[in-house]
C-alpha cells in the first residue's frame, strides 16, 4: 500500500524539519519527504492545516496482559495507543507473572504483532519475579528484544543490588528505568503530603519518598556509568536533582506524565479515586517545576503511565482504591493545553518529547520522518476541540478523571509501519 500525506506541517525535530509539504510512503517506508510530491498511490491523506509528526513513543504503558486481561489486553491497549497517536509503546513488566524471561518477551512481541495497531517494546524486570532479590537474566531479555529493564511499581529497595543492576545493564547497554519510591517514607500513604492531605485527613506520601531515591539512583548511575531513566517524575526536588546530575554529565534521562503536569493535589478534594495515582499528584509548585523542567530540557520526555483499572476496583473508598489512571488517549491534548498553549513548549519541542527523544532514550531507530525510516506517522488537527467521552474510550478500562472534559488538539490519522491504523479518528 502506498500512501501520500499532502500539505501538512511536517515536524521532525531530530532532523530539524518544520515545513509544509508532502510525505510519500511505500511498503512501510518513508520514501519521499518535501515540497509537492506527485505519485500514483492507493491512499491520499489531505493534511492541510494539520501537523504531521513522527508517531509517538510511550516510554511507560501498562497493558496488563498477561494476568489482568479484564482490565486491558495488548489488543485493547494498543488500540488505545493508536487513537492517541502512539505507534510504539513500552510495556511495563509488572504483569502477572512479571516479564522477567525470554519466553515472556517473545509472547508479548507475538501478541502485539497480531494486533497490527502499534509496535510494542517489552520492558523486562530488573530483578527476578520483580521481587527485588536477584538480578533477572538481563542479557537474555536484551537479546529477546527488551530495550530497557525496570521493576516499575517498586524501587529496587536494596541499594547494593541496584548498583549491581546498573553495572550489569551498562555492560549490555541496557536502559534502566527506575520507579523511585522509598516505601519506608511512603508507607500506607494515598496522596502527596501537604496542605490538602492535612485538610482531607488522607495518609500522606512525602515528596522525599521519591526524591531521596532519585538522588540515590542518580549517584549510582554516576558511579557505574549506566544509562538511567527516571520514571514519572512528580516533584520539584526530583527535577532539581536531575537538573544538577545532567549538568555534571550523568547519563540520566527523565519522563513526566500528562496528569502530573496537568493536575495538582487539590483535585483530590472530592475524593475522586481516579485522582489516586502513584506517584501522587504534586502541589501546584511541583506542577510548575515539572513544566519548567520540560521547558529547559531537564525532563526529556512525556510518558503516559497508562494504568488501567476496573471500575469496580476504583469505585471504592479512597484508601482502598488502586493507584493509577489511563492516559494514552488524552496525552496529546493535555500536553497541548498545558504546555503549548501556556508557552512552555512550541510544537517542535512537544513533538520531540513524545517521539524523537523517547526513541533516542531507547536507542530505537524510529521517532523520525527521515527518508528511509519506518513509516510511523501521526497526523494532528491542532485546533480541533473534542470531549473525552466514556463511550469513546478505546482502552478496556475507563479510569480517567478527564472523562467529560473538553480537550483541544485531536489525533486524526495514524500510520504505523506504513499501514493506516486510524483514519479521521476512527480505528481501522
Amino acid at each position: 500500500m502506498n500512501i501520500l500525506v499532502k500539505n501538512g506541517r511536517i515536524i521532525d525535530p531530530l532532523w530539524k524539519i518544520d515545513k509544509i509539504g508532502d510525505i510519500l510512503i511505500e511498503e512501510g517506508e518513508i520514501v519521499g519527504i518535501g515540497g509537492t510530491i506527485e505519485s500514483r498511490v492507493t491512499v491520499t491523506i489531505e493534511a492541510k492545516g494539520k501537523i504531521v509528526s513522527p508517531g509517538f513513543i510511550d516510554l511507560h504503558t501498562h497493558l496488563r496482559e498477561p494476568g489482568r486481561e479484564d482490565m486491558e489486553t495488548i489488543e485493547t491497549g494498543l488500540a488505545a495507543a493508536a487513537s492517541g497517536g502512539f505507534t510504539t509503546v513500552c510495556a511495563m513488566p509488572n504483569t502477572d507473572p512479571p516479564c522477567d524471561n525470554q519466553a515472556h518477551v517473545n509472547f508479548l512481541i507475538e501478541r502485539a504483532k497480531q494486533t497490527k495497531k502499534a509496535n510494542l517494546l517489552p520492558v523486562g524486570t530488573i530483578t527476578k519475579g520483580r521481587e527485588g532479590k536477584k538480578l533477572s537474566e538481563m542479557g537474555e531479555l536484551r537479546k529477546a528484544g527488551c530495550p530497557a529493564v525496570s521493576d516499575d511499581g517498586d524501587s529496587v529497595e536494596d541499594a547494593g543490588l541496584m548498583r549491581r543492576a546498573l553495572e550489569y545493564a551498562s555492560m549490555l547497554d541496557l536502559l534502566v528505568i527506575s520507579h523511585c519510591e522509598d516505601k519506608a517514607l511512603s508507607l500506607d500513604g494515598v496522596m502527596r503530603e501537604g496542605y490538602w492531605s492535612t485538610v482531607l485527613g488522607l495518609s500522606p506520601i512525602p515528596a522525599e519518598a521519591e526524591s531521596t531515591i532519585v538522588e540515590r539512583d542518580v549517584q549510582l548511575a554516576e558511579m557505574t556509568g549506566a544509562r538511567l531513566h527516571i520514571a514519572h517524575v512528580s516533584t520539584k526536588e526530583s527535577v532539581g536533582i536531575i537538573r544538577a546530575a545532567k549538568k555534571r554529565g550523568v547519563k540520566v534521562t527523565a519522563e513526566v506524565t500528562p496528569h502530573h503536569f496537568t493536575l495538582s493535589d487539590r483535585e483530590v478534594k472530592t475524593f475522586d479515586t481516579n485522582m489516586k495515582v502513584n506517584p501522587p499528584l504534586g502541589s501546584a509548585e511541583d506542577v510548575k517545576a515539572l513544566k519548567e523542567g520540560l521547558k529547559d530540557g531537564t525532563i526529556d520526555a512525556i510518558a503516559t503511565d497508562h494504568a488501567p483499572h476496573l471500575e469496580s476496583d476504583k469505585e471504592k473508598e479512597f484508601d482502598y482504591a488502586p493507584f493509577g489512571m489511563i492516559g494514552l488517549e488524552t496525552a496529546l491534548s493535555l500536553a497541548v493545553m498545558n504546555l503549548v498553549d501556556e508557552g512552555y513548549l512550541d510544537w517542535p519541542a512537544l513533538v520531540s518529547k513524545m517521539s524523537g527523544t523517547p526513541a533516542k532514550i531507547l536507542k530505537y531507530g524510529r521517532g523520525t520522518l527521515r527518508k528511509g525510516s519506518v513509516a510511523d506517522i501521526v497526523i494532528i488537527d491542532p485546533d480541533r476541540e473534542w470531549t473525552y467521552k466514556r463511550e469513546g474510550v478505546r482502552s478496556r478500562s475507563s479510569n480517567s478523571p478527564f472523562i467529560g472534559r473538553k480537550m483541544k488538539a485531536a489525533v486524526t490519522d495514524v500510520i504505523a509501519e506504513g499501514k493506516v491504523v486510524l483514519r479521521n479518528g476512527e480505528c481501522l
Binding site: 496542605y195 492531605s197 492535612t198 482531607l200 485527613g201 488522607l202 475524593f271 471504592k316 473508598e317 484508601d319
Partner: protein, 327 residues
C-alpha cells in the same frame, strides 16, 4: 444576620464542617438550644420525626457516638436500625457501594456513617438519595463532635468569638481536631494546636491556626483546652518515644494548670479519656471539666442535625415544623 427561621437549609447531607457556612453552623447551634431544653424535661421525647427511619452504619467500633445518635433519633421518635462492621456483610466482602444500595432499597431516610476511610461518607452521599451524616471518617472530619464542642463552649462561656481555644494532642490523626479547627475559626475563635511535631500534620497553619510544640504556650491565656485522646498504638509506629515522655511534655495535670493556665480555663475532651495520659485524674474530674456536658450536649446537637436534615423542605426550615410539646 438573617433571622434564623428564614435562613435556607438546602444541603441533603452533613458531611463535614468544611461544607458549612457560618450561618449554617449557627442554624444547628440555635436549634440545638431548643433540644437541649427538651432533654431536661420530664419526658424528653418529641414526635417530630415519627415515621422516619434512620440507619446507623458503623464500620468502626464506637460506643459514645453511636449511642448518642441513636438516642437523638429516639428522642425525636424516629425508627432506628443499627448496622455494625462486625455484623455486616462488609466482613463478607460486600463493597460500600453495594451496602449503600441495599440500605437505599430498604427505603431509609437517613444514613449515619462512621468509617475508617476519609471520604467514605462523601462516596456514600453521591450514591444514595437518603441524607448522609458523617459520624467520623478516618482522620478527616467529625462534624457533630465539632458542633457539640462549639455548643458546649458557647453554653459555658457565653460566646465563642474572640475566645482562645487550644487543641492538644495527636492533631495529625484526629478528625476531631480538623472539624474543630474549621468550626471554631469560622465562629471567630482564636485556635492554637499543640502536640509533638511527629503528630502535627504538614501546613496545618494554613487552616488558620497557631502551631506550638510547647504545652505552656498552648495553655497560657487559653479560655478552653480541648484535649484529644492519644492513641496508644501510635507509639508503636515510632511517632513518639514513650507514654511516659508524652505525659511529661504534653499531659495536662492540675499542677501544670495552676502554673500556666488562666483561672477557670474550660477543660474539654471528646472521650474516651486515657486517664493519667493526656489528662490527669484530678483534671478530668475537676470543676473546670465539662466533659460530661459535652456528652449531654452531643445528644442535643445530633437531634438538631437529624431534625434539620430530615425536616428539610428544600426551601426553609420553618419554625412551626418543630412541634415541641410536652405531653
Amino acid at each position: 444576620m438573617k433571622k434564623k427561621d428564614s435562613v435556607k437549609w438546602e444541603k441533603k447531607d452533613l458531611l463535614g464542617i468544611a461544607e458549612l457556612s457560618r450561618e449554617e453552623i449557627r442554624i444547628i447551634l440555635d436549634r440545638a438550644k431548643n433540644f437541649r431544653e427538651v432533654l431536661d424535661r420530664h419526658i424528653p421525647k418529641v414526635p417530630t420525626l415519627r415515621g422516619k427511619t434512620i440507619a446507623n452504619l458503623f464500620y468502626e467500633p464506637s460506643t459514645r457516638t453511636r449511642s448518642s445518635f441513636e438516642l437523638a433519633a429516639k428522642r425525636l421518635s424516629a425508627d432506628t436500625l443499627s448496622i455494625t462492621a462486625s455484623s455486616s456483610s462488609f466482613l463478607k466482602g460486600e463493597t460500600l457501594k453495594d451496602t449503600a444500595r441495599n440500605i437505599e432499597a430498604m427505603k431509609v431516610d437517613m444514613i449515619i456513617m462512621r468509617h475508617s476511610c476519609a471520604g467514605a461518607p462523601h462516596f456514600l452521599s453521591r450514591r444514595v438519595k437518603a441524607a448522609v451524616v458523617n459520624a467520623g471518617d478516618g482522620a478527616h472530619e467529625h462534624p457533630t463532635q465539632a458542633l457539640l464542642d462549639a455548643f458546649t463552649i458557647e453554653n459555658t462561656l457565653g460566646k465563642i468569638k474572640g475566645l482562645k481555644v487550644s487543641i492538644i494532642g495527636d492533631i495529625a490523626h484526629s478528625r476531631v481536631a480538623r472539624s474543630n479547627i474549621l468550626a471554631l475559626t469560622r465562629l471567630g475563635a482564636d485556635v492554637t494546636v499543640c502536640g509533638p511535631k511527629t503528630l502535627m500534620p504538614e501546613q496545618i497553619e494554613k487552616m488558620g491556626v497557631r502551631v506550638t510544640y510547647n504545652i505552656k504556650e498552648a495553655m497560657e491565656g487559653a479560655d478552653v483546652l480541648n484535649v484529644l485522646r492519644i492513641q496508644l498504638e501510635r507509639q508503636k509506629e515510632a511517632l513518639f518515644p514513650s507514654i511516659r515522655e508524652y505525659v511529661r511534655f504534653f499531659g495536662i495535670n492540675s499542677r501544670r494548670l495552676k502554673k500556666h493556665a488562666k483561672k477557670g480555663v474550660v477543660i474539654m475532651h471528646p472521650g474516651p479519656v486515657n486517664r493519667g495520659v493526656e489528662l490527669s485524674q484530678d483534671v478530668a474530674d475537676g470543676k473546670y471539666s465539662v466533659i460530661l456536658d459535652q456528652v449531654t450536649n452531643g445528644v442535643a446537637i445530633r437531634m438538631a442535625v437529624l431534625f434539620i436534615l430530615l425536616g428539610r423542605t428544600g426551601k426553609t426550615v420553618v419554625e412551626d415544623q418543630l412541634r415541641i410539646s410536652e405531653k
